[in-house]
């Protein structure tokens, strides 16, 4: 029995969330008195494994197969399953990345299990591990536990476990060659590409005024522009604003947009879903204006006004002009 972390890398560069997952697995391992293993797959896995191996781990497995060179959910699920079965892993942990979302539920289903996805914390009750995950876009938490026989599967949300608590060490690296047939891989991924070059570099702005769906209608945007002007700030937005075409895509902040860390980030009518937070939580000062006191954005705000933005923003503009 062991705990297995399946990390992620691309072309030899480790996805840093893998280290958070290792740190979490070390905690779980200490609590459950289980050895912890880690694994990587894909072209460059061996190179990236070196960084993982500098942790207190029993072993790092480099899963090698030419059908894994380019990521496909079919090959990934088949390969990881074989390692899970070989190790007899009790608990398999993943970072909650787009790639994990793509293959881990398939893997769990193939093994007649369920993945507890997007976990933000854990607790112990006797012998049971309780996973905490978010419902309603971060407004409510839920305690969930796995039932039945192991292996259990869980993916961990970015930033929920701290990579700097990882215990260093020097783990042996071992190759594992799964058996995969070309006919089992049904999709053919093509090259990665980026859309357009970004004309606005939000990363360079000292102050960002960011607007969300609370603005209701694009006709109300001039109010936000005035606020930004009064603060000499750049304008950014949450995803739905850009999806609707109210502001250009290049102003989107979040996991699928830009990552920013200005001196001040002023979020107006933004709820604070995790996919937005990952793009701005490095900001020095976060200010939020939201009518809902339970909005998750207040969780990370230094200052906030609970109120109707249509009243608060004009008042704020007036105050700033003084």
């Amino acid at each position: 029995m062991s705990i297995l972390v399946v990390g992620e890398q691309r072309d030899g560069t480790l996805n840093k969330m893998s280290l958070e997952t290792v740190a979490a697995a070390q905690q779980f391992g200490a609590e459950l008195s289980l050895p912890v293993h880690a694994a990587l797959f894909g072209k460059g896995a061996e190179q990236a494994a070196a960084e993982l191996a500098a942790s207190k781990l029993d072993k790092v497995h480099v899963i090698e197969h030419e059908l894994l060179d380019v990521y496909t959910p079919d090959a990934a699920a088949l390969a990881v399953r074989q390692l899970v079965e070989k190790l007899g892993a009790r608990l398999v942990l993943f970072p909650h990345t787009y790639q994990v979302r793509d293959y881990a539920p398939k893997l769990a289903t193939a093994m007649d299990r369920v993945l507890v996805s997007d976990v933000i914390a854990h607790k112990r009750e006797g012998d049971t591990t309780i996973f905490v995950r978010q419902l309603f876009q971060g407004k409510v938490n839920a305690d969930v536990h796995c039932t039945g026989e192991p292996p259990f599967f869980a993916s961990l949300q970015a930033g929920s476990f701290r990579a700097d608590t990882r215990e260093p060490g020097s783990a042996p690296v071992e190759k594992f060659t799964p058996s995969i047939e070309a006919s089992q891989v049904r999709s053919k991924p093509l090259e990665l590409f980026r859309e357009s070059t970004r004309a606005v570099d939000l990363g360079a702005a000292d102050i960002i005024v960011s607007v969300g769906r609370g603005i209701k209608d694009p006709e109300n945007l001039p109010m936000i522009e005035q606020l930004a002007e009064a603060l000499h700030a750049e304008i950014a937005a949450s995803r739905p604003i850009c999806d609707n075409g109210w502001l250009p895509m290049e102003r989107q902040v979040g996991s699928s947009g830009q990552t920013v860390a200005p001196k001040m980030y002023l979020a107006v009518g933004i709820s604070g879903a995790i996919q937005h937070l990952v793009g701005m939580k490095g900001s020095k000062i976060v200010v939020a204006i939201n009518k809902d006191p339970e909005a998750p954005i207040f969780e990370i705000a230094d200052y906030g006004i609970v109120g109707d933005l249509f009243q608060v923003v004009p008042a704020l503009i007036e105050e700033l002009k003084k």
Partner: protein, 256 residues
């Protein structure tokens, strides 16, 4: 092309949430409900494919009786017929339970393409589509922005992190989980609303589909998260709140 679109009914986005007496779910009696946002985009993509290549769009929904309202709205937008797995207790923790029912309901249909949203606004599992693909034995791709069908295969555009995209070629039948924002959503026309009343909405019970399976993950309780960061919040009169905030930003945080 036979296209199935899985749609889920979820509490409207601005709902005021309260935990119910069981401690396991929210008080749902007086909430209003709407289609899960990415599912609306999945439906739009399905309707556009039908317009391009012909065929039919079948809406699939598992949920209580009230979900019929959301299904009717999808029919009014142009879906041809609907399968409603009417079930109150889909459990809050285990996406395999509803996915099994959905897979069973699709056994007779043999669709060319199944579309789901990438994630639900309430449970946020982000995995029901992928599970369904595995249960149906078809390939899948996730977080899709665009679909181009070329006969028996298609090329789809996947969103990746950090502004990257990737095209993927895959055979049909297949399942795709759709991202929001890729299309402009249509409104139901008056004509569409009228027509929807005559379209087939087939109710199926869980027991017709082999019953609910034993969950592999159990939800113990739900609760509001504790706010652990010391935020200074100003409430009340907007003018006073704005003045206080500006003072803090000038003299305490010194960012303006």
């Amino acid at each position: 092309m036979k296209i199935v679109v899985a749609i889920k009914q979820v509490p409207a986005r601005d709902s005021l949430l309260r935990v119910d007496s069981s401690g396991k779910w929210i008080q749902d009696a007086d909430l209003s409900y709407e289609i899960n946002e990415p599912d609306a985009y999945a439906l739009e993509a399905g309707l556009q494919l039908k317009e391009q290549y012909g065929g039919e769009v079948i809406v699939l929904c598992a949920g209580p009786a009230r979900a019929a309202q959301t299904i009717r709205e999808a029919l009014a937008k142009g879906a041809d017929r609907a399968l409603h797995i009417e079930e109150d207790n889909l459990g809050g923790a285990d996406p395999l339970v509803p996915a099994r029912l959905m897979a069973a309901a699709l056994k007779q249909e043999a669709p060319d393409l199944v579309l789901t949203g990438l994630q639900s606004d309430d449970l946020g599992m982000g995995q029901t589509g992928v599970i369904l693909a595995e249960l149906l034995g078809v390939p899948h791709a996730t977080i899709i922005m665009h679909i181009e069908v070329n006969g028996k295969t298609m090329t789809v555009k996947r969103e990746l992190e950090d502004g990257w995209f990737q095209n993927v070629e895959m055979p049909l039948p297949a399942l795709l989980t759709m991202q929001s924002g890729s299309n402009k959503l249509r409104y139901a026309t008056l004509m569409g609303i009228k027509k929807a009343k005559t379209k087939e909405l087939k109710r199926i019970s869980a027991s017709d589909l082999g019953g609910l399976t034993q969950p592999k993950a159990a939800l113990e309780r739900i609760y509001f998260p504790e706010r652990n960061k010391q935020s200074q919040l100003f409430e009340g009169n907007p003018k006073e709140a704005a003045a206080k905030l500006v003072e803090k930003l000038r003299f305490e945080a010194r960012v303006i």
